[in-house]
Symmetry: C2
Subunit: 145 residues, 2 copies
């Protein structure tokens, strides 16, 4: 995946909004739960709003709400909303094209990364925000009801 925490924090944000689905939640409250600065939260929410996963309300008594039910949001939706296109290190990778290996390796690696990425995204698609919410509610010790 990537080395940043955008996806992790974003899932946290949306899980919080699912948990507090009855009202508009201000960024400062979410920031308290994530333990970071409200601006960091608003930056991520900006991307989530643009991708229509969340609705924003300005002004007093404003805040954020889920734009859809939690079972209609997959973790892949979240991932694609907040993660930049993965470079897989190919940006800093500029091999010597005069070498027979260096000339073609980039193309081959792009194919490999594409498959690996697809494998990962397929798993994210299977998990919905409602699954995350259910796990948050579950009682920890023991599994027998």
């Amino acid at each position: 995946m990537s080395a940043n925490s955008r996806f992790a924090v974003s899932v946290h944000i949306l899980a919080y909004l699912a948990y507090e689905h009855a009202r508009a939640v201000p960024s400062a409250e979410i920031a308290s739960s994530v333990d970071t600065n409200p601006v960091v939260i608003r930056r991520l929410l900006s991307a989530l709003v643009k991708n229509q996963l969340v609705e924003a309300y300005k002004g007093a008594a404003g805040g954020f709400r889920l734009a859809r039910p939690a079972n209609a949001i997959s973790l892949l939706d979240i991932y694609r909303a907040v993660e930049p296109a993965p470079s897989h290190g190919m940006n800093r990778f500029t091999p010597n094209h005069r070498c027979p290996v260096g000339a073609k390796i980039e193309e081959v690696l792009l194919g490999v990364f594409s498959k690996a990425q697809a494998g990962m995204e397929a798993e994210l698609l299977r998990v919905r925000l409602s699954d995350v919410e259910r796990q948050l509610h579950a009682v920890c010790p023991g599994r027998r009801t």
Copy 2:
């Protein structure tokens, strides 16, 4: 995956060694193909040697060779040899445990990341170094032989 180029460069290195399988190749020659410093190459080769994918020969006429045939090395072997354990951003993610969401979200996210990682690694396991080598030899334009 990760933002660094270790995996991409390492696949290049091993593809080069597969291409020049008949002799021991010095790090400076590989560095020329990758277009970087020989020390960078040796650092990665150090990890590859430790994981028994490559054999190193010191001294004059020394260099590096594949330790096994190219069809006995998967890209997952390479990935695990040179990539540090993926953090998925969880290192910088320290939510407020006094919040019901913050208290459990880490555990839930670890499960999600574990599945996503497994999906990606399953694809890397399917590709062998010999597949990469074959694609390097393939003629570019057109697919009809």
